[in-house]
Amino acid sequence: MDDVKIPSSEERKSALSGLGTSRKRVEDARFTQGKGNYVDDIKLKGMLFGDFVRSPVAHARVKNIDTSAALALPGVHAVLTAADLEPLGLHWMPTLAGDKQMVLADGKVLFQGQEVAFVVGDDRYAVADGVSLVEVEYDELPVVTDPFKAELKDAPILREDIADQKEGAHGARRHPNHIFTWEAGEKEETNKVLDEAEVVADEMVYYHRTHPCPLETCGCVASMDKVNGKLTVWGTFQAPHAVRTVASLISSIPEHNIRIISPDIGGGFGNKVGVYPGYICSIVASIVTGVPIKWVEDRMDNLMATAFARDYWMHGKISATKDGKITGLWCHTTADHGAFDACADPTKFPAGFMNICTGSYDIPVAYLAVDGVYTNKAPGGVAYRCSFRVTEASYFIERMIEVLASKLGMDSAELRSKNFIKKEQFPYTSALGWEYDSGDYHQAWEKAMTSVNYKQLREDQKKQLQLFKEGKSRKLMGIGLSHFTEIVGAGPVKNCDILGLGMFDACEIRIHPTGSAIARLGTISQGQGHATTFAQILASEIGIPASDITLEEGDTDTAPYGLGTYGSRSTPVAGAATAMAGRKIRAKAQMIAAYLLEVHDDDVEWDVDRFSVKGAPEKFKTMKEIAFASYNQAIPGVEPGLEAVSYYDPPNMTYPNGAYVVVMEIDVDTGVSDIKKVYALDDCGTRINPMIIEGQVHGGLTEALAISMGQEIAYDEQGNVMTGTLMDFFIPTAWETPTYETDYTETPSPHHPIGAKGVGESPNVGGVSAFSNAVHDAFKPFGLTQAHMPHDHWRVWKIAKDLGLHN
């Protein structure tokens, strides 16, 4: 024994691959070898396929649906319409926002691409033939696409089903096309401050309609086993447990007889949070036909009908003293929700966390009002790589800061620095009611400004402007700054629920006799690498190497209840549950170790992967030994086995933050921008896996680049979708995407068990403002204050033209 050297704590720690290590991903073996298991890879015996007949028009009465020709086709088994679903009460379904949505057109259609009938057949080809043979007679109605015209007196009424309802899910309704008005903050006090202010900047900031567009579209395989009375649905579900509960509530199938499985998911970005007509129709079709039904939407279906994002018109006023101290903020938002209010927000927040719009700044008083309206566009309003409207809020304040800086004639970097919430002010309660947990914004900002050599950048910009003015160059340089504060990790059950389901999350751990383990969570990875990172959290908590811990998510029959993965909630909520469950394991392990070492519980202490006797570190029991003992020793007062479960209700949200800088050169004659630099500093609290954090930042920045520089869901006046394919809907290729510089500061969350805050969405939140601000900054010397996104080549060319730069 004496000659066996005990490895040092550091050596043992490093063998665990726990917190802070860039552990390689365990998911990659299957994905790189073509052995992923996505929903479209699932093939069941006797499985049929389903697909939709969709509306070609944006607003019309459905006069007749003739399914006879389709049904006559060999290979077509059934065609479902609203009339078939009505006896089951499934022709409408509840939305996550307290509204309801047609599953199949019930008398009328309200947006182009709306689901009208569901054709079931032998294979995709037979179904496509069937879809083309369903004859639908439409009687077209006037269309509303402009949200500012939705509440006009003579506006066409879209939702006849609720036209007379004066009370909606979120309070009083004043017009048939009005959904809700939501207010936060002090209206009168804010108006007073604005009236008396030395300087007020007033601007309309539009965050256009776009789409999460994960590479894998939405789909499912529904299988009703009539013998056992059990329904199993495999699908692209970011929140499998919530889907199970909703499915049970609307179908009357008892919840224990429904099993929801999220297999590998090919990207989510918020697109796969909601419940869509395809899921309902597949389930019904499986019940009707008695065989499994697969439905996988195609790209056009996905872009046209399945969950858009953003579409917020944000009118802002920001006031300050002459020397740049911000005194108040006012915002009125017109929110275009499309034909049904299907936003994915916690129930009490119909405009999500838009009230984080005071951003990173110490603003004494603020007021926010959001009007949600119906238009003839697709429903959605999902959090596209964002925690419930935080991207909109952050873009709004970061544009308003720039507009105010222009008005003050002040450098916007200095204006930001002057108004940041100070380190010593945390925990900080914002004027709109949030308690920011921690941050050191000045440190981050200074680090960013130094890293990019901000002063030099401004000098270079001046030189470039001079060359332009002298006619020696046709290019302008833009420097885009942003500092963002996210609010993620929804959330405390006291104020966060979806359809009455509290937004806690859970982790269950079983330690096997030989000292390896399985942990199950209520979340579901869509590329974030949970199987890798959550095992790291556990490794550090329970001293078992990450490589000996299997992580499982997504099967409601085995995983503990949780609200799923979106809104950067996995690490803040499920990650906390994981750490807490680990601590329960450790508490029991301590009793076992003390028994084995024949000392009192208090006389042993935790040391990386073992308990050792205090003052006698050579006397110890490793977790491996403890695990085995828990299965074969009769320990008085201790149950056999080593398992734990934790349901974690977070006491607060977490507030990741960061400082981003984008530098670009814009050709005024073509509108083409050349991105020269993208610097992203993130503070996501404790860093679990730096490699994965960096990967998340690269991806989020690229989505931000897409959104700000070209990606949109555009409609014409008749409500036709103009950007329904990847030919029109901009997704950057490797060729257009710049190389990113990442950086960090680390300010742990004080209330999270391991101090982690979440990072997946930060780069999208901070990135959009930085890219957009760079475009604005380039044209600032010529008087540009606001130009709406996306800043595609044509729109940028138009800015230059309108400013007279082409003469």
Binding site: T32, G34, G36, L215, D298, I692, I731, A734
Partner: protein, 167 residues
């Protein structure tokens, strides 16, 4: 619709199937032959998730009819390595975090596989252009480019070792 017989060699194995002439190659591979590595992201040649190698060229199998592959040599991501001996690209994508959700990965790897034969010693810029027919929504490409550059270097090194051994 009347069905026809189509034969092709997939990953070195003779395969024969009976399909409607309009059957897309990606469906033939995924649904009839159960090679589910190639994925469908757009069905319109834009995203590249379905990229495979056909007769020594990268093709997007969502826009090739199965009968067009009659007699062809097809290589999919399942055929370039084995669990015991991964292809350099598979290894380097793992090593450099070149993937997240994994949906674009088989197409990305198959495009890179062909690209590195067309250009075994590429610059980063050439890699970016070479894979610009393949979309990724997760990674921002930075680590994909890194993975491909690393794989290129590994393949070259291995080739040099082989040459030396022969010499």
């Amino acid at each position: 619709m009347e069905k026809i017989n189509v034969s092709m060699k997939v990953n070195g194995k003779e395969e024969s199937l009976t399909v409607e002439p309009r059957t897309l190659l990606v469906h033939a591979l995924r649904e009839h032959l159960e090679y589910t590595g190639a994925h469908i992201g757009c069905s319109s040649s834009h995203c590249g998730a379905c990229t495979i190698d056909m007769n020594g060229k990268s093709v997007k199998s969502c826009t090739v009819f199965a009968p067009q592959a009659e007699g062809a040599e097809i290589l999919t991501v399942e055929g370039i390595g084995s669990p015991d001996k991964l292809h350099a690209l598979q290894e380097m994508f793992k090593e450099h975090h070149g993937l997240q959700c994994g949906y674009c990965t088989p197409g990305m790897i198959m495009r890179s596989y062909r690209f590195l034969q067309e250009n075994p010693n590429p610059t980063e810029e050439e890699v970016r252009f070479g894979i610009s027919g393949n979309l990724c929504r997760c990674t921002g490409y930075q680590n994909i480019v890194k993975s491909i550059m690393a794989a290129a270097s590994k393949i070259r090194d291995e080739a040099n070792v082989e040459k030396k051994e022969i010499a």
